[in-house]
Amino acid sequence: MNHIWTVPRISSRAWKVWHRNLVVFFRTWKVNFFPPLIEAFLYLFAIGMGIGSYVQQIDGIPYVNFIAPAILAISVMNSAFFECTYGSYVRMYYQKSFDAMIATPLSIEDVIAGELLWGATRSLLYVIIMLPVFVAFGVISLPTSLLAIPLAFLGGLMFGGIAMCFTAITPSIDTLNYPSFLFITPMALFSGTFFPLTLLPVAFQYIALIFFPLTHLVAIMRMLTLPAITSVLLLHLSWIIVVTAIFCIIAINLMRKRLIV
């Protein structure tokens, strides 16, 4: 009766789970805020300034400006994906937190929805932390770049949903390494991030557009930060919204299947 495509019934209690994670995050804020800041600097210097001094320009855009939105998009992907794989798995399997939560009025659907919302919030927070650095270096433009913040939430929800599907079916924490290395790493490199998609053979371009959600996120992000907004943005945005909805629904249903026996 509970099919994989059934739209789950979620209550506003999902925010309680979200809030629990938020409280823990801010209590250890020093550990949590530093990595994205450092990451932003590292990428800017190593790739931007380093490779940038050879590459100079791509399509008439300074190389650092070209990769800055990609760094933001990759950060959105990583923070939500790793939160909803390793983070959620630890809470589910080792801490038994989900078991404790569903003994309260929270349903398993609320709990997983809260985890997904939290993954998305984490992406949003990281972008908020990284934006001022990029603005200070003058590699992104205001005010359109501010739209990267809501976009980070949507992108985070998408990668959180995909991540949670892996978490729901993984037999152990070790096997979560497969999606990390076989999916996330290639995606970070071949989604029009550090070089334009058009440099890839046509077949690969299609693969990237169909199977790499990051491609669409990078594309929108770049339109916003350059800025160079065209109507194609709506196509990318629609793609992301549809994929987000699909994976979040499947993730919640798979998790219920795993945990409610």
Binding site: R13, R20, D99, M101, A103, P105, I260
Partner: protein, 302 residues
Amino acid sequence: MPGIIEAQDLRKKFGDINAVDGITFAVNKGEVFGFLGPNGAGKTSTMKIIACVSPRTSGAIRVFDMDPDTSPAEIKQRLGVVPQETNLDPDFTCYGNLFTYARYFDIPPDLASKKAEELLEFVQLQEKRDVTVEKLSGGMKRRLILARALVNNPDLLILDEPTIGLDPQARHLIWERLKLLQSQGNTIILTTHYLDEAARLCDRLVIMDNGKILVEGTPVDLVKQYVGNEVVEIEKTDEVLACLSKNTIPFEAIGDSVQVATDSSREIAKILFDQCSPHKVITRPATLEDVFLKLTGRKLKE
């Protein structure tokens, strides 16, 4: 007035295994009701159905006159659950665990805070208020879980092996707290392997095996009905065995001893000393453990 829980022909299947195989029982308000049974008897599965975290396969169950399948949130709002497995939140302190948990029940922050302090005192953990749960001993963790189960002033407390793995001091403290809750009119259901615990706490209990309820009653009645008042234990010798058989006294040989359940140990002792020349004889009151072993057998489970 309907009972707190009413179950009829309740069943739970995991694949081909009937974990709960058609049980019927009712729990009344203000009662401590025990589920006893060896490992794999179906106790925890039954608890999970009542707690709305595992849907039944078939049969009927009403908790607070509501159906766990259709009103889980409403039922769970009024439940306090002590699970078998310790699942405190390691990211929080003792106080933080209680406060956060109270928030899951929609208890407003100021009230949640007050309740958390109150419960820390109730389970005598005030000194550990700001300690992360990983630093607590096993007994302290169980106490904190008990406190956590009480944050919403539950109308029904579900305890799955509440004192598992605890030392005698910790067990006694938990018992004492449970007795106090009982005296305040709380309804409690509990599962346990410890038969002294069941005898001490339960007003009424069922003994389960292989997913079925074997017997139901008060601890005292069950002991009387299935064993008798006393048990005479005699060191096993061929002479004693032959002698008991000759006098048609029913007995059970276990290891190197022979047990005779009886209402009159004097009579048995007299026959023994007059006719059987026994080596060692001990007379003791019959316990729930005798009932349990008699009904569920002495073979190791699992």
